[in-house]
Symmetry: C2
Subunit: 226 residues, 2 copies
């Protein structure tokens, strides 16, 4: 056996996009698609698509294209779908409630089983039949129930404490929405959604033309303007 | 003058992370940091950090490190901060309300001025003094008010229609949370937050060891197991 193939994070981050586009094609009753057509829609080059998919096996046939449903199913498997994931959410504010209410997560096998909060006004309420418990019960809940993914929707200052409770009680996958990077032991996987990072990327791109004009100027030109 | 320097999207996507870490250092009263220490915290190599920053000018001094506040301010400028951005949100469900309620956006100069929805139960209510209007008024609102960023928090099927109204009425920057890729004219910048993509990246990483074991096996081994 040769060296183990590893998949780069850049490839991994493109996989959900393939998944999303192929679902769109299925919705539009498309059975087959060439790598050229797929490339036009998804915005990666045809050769990039072939390379990405080649990491995982042999898909499609030259000149004949991909079977949309087969490819969708294969990518679903690669992404670890076709399984059920039990999730709990710490932080039952608007964001936690939004995530608990997303019906398209449930379609893919993701089930929010419980929410946790410190706010007495929220504790005992239910969101789509999912109960909000006191955060002090998180530890016991994780002991008594099989939970695959812990979701953190608390404010920044509480996030690390919540992550510690999750990790100590067997959670190995955390989806973190708090605007901080969590410190977790090796083997625990954290996927961050830093919303402000995304918004700042948008403002950067809005301002980029002005910025590039400035940094591409000769130093002398800049001096002259002052 | 030589060729215009362009900044790669990979660099652009790292900038908000520098911004976030430097803010954390300021909060902890750190005045100076070496590229080595910054590298240890942020998880990019010191040479990567120097290369990234070199795109935008001359920062720090060899062996003396970066002035944290100066670097933070420079990166804020590069990201287009130190300006105010007026934003509107289409879709006033939990996610729209969560975004309208984020106080840390406002600290960076982002102000949500209005929400829009089709739900008569929401129209007329206010979230932190921000009124929810009928989505039919979006067009007129954009005509009468200076709005820099349109945020889409509607379900998938309404997202393109809302984007069209925004673009026709002068919006050139869209922050899209709907799980679909928007079709917009050249010059309009769209930043997508596809939450399911992020969740699928997490499940991929959870399942990766099993998957790599499988694809790294000799074909013969696989046959033997069957």
């Amino acid at each position: 056996m040769g060296d183990k193939r590893q998949i780069s994070m850049a490839v991994v981050r493109r996989l959900p996009k393939y998944h999303r586009y192929l679902l769109e094609l299925i919705r539009n009753d498309v059975d087959r698609i060439s790598s050229k057509e797929l490339s036009d829609r998804i915005g990666f080059t045809a050769s990039q698509i072939r390379q990405d998919l080649n990491n995982f096996g042999d898909f499609g046939q030259q000149g004949y294209g991909y079977n949309v449903k087969d490819l969708y199913n294969e990518i679903s498997n690669i992404l670890g779908l076709h399984a059920n994931y039990n999730m709990v959410i710490a932080g039952a504010g608007n964001l936690g409630q939004a995530i608990a209410g997303y019906s398209n997560f449930e379609k893919e096998g993701f089930r929010v089983k419980a929410l946790f909060d410190i706010n007495p006004k929220l504790i005992g309420l239910s969101i789509r039949d999912i109960e909000i418990f006191d955060i002090d019960n998180l530890r016991n809940y994780l002991h008594d129930n099989k939970v695959d993914i812990g979701i953190i929707c608390t404010p920044r200052v509480q996030a690390q404490k919540v992550a510690d409770v999750m990790v100590k009680n067997g959670i190995t996958a955390i989806w973190n929405f708090a605007p901080t990077d969590l410190d977790v032991p090796r083997g625990v996987i954290v996927e961050n959604v830093h919303l402000l990072d995304s918004l700042l990327t948008l403002t950067y791109r809005v301002n980029e033309p002005k910025l590039l004009d400035y940094i591409n100027k000769d130093p002398e030109e800049i001096v002259e303007e002052e």
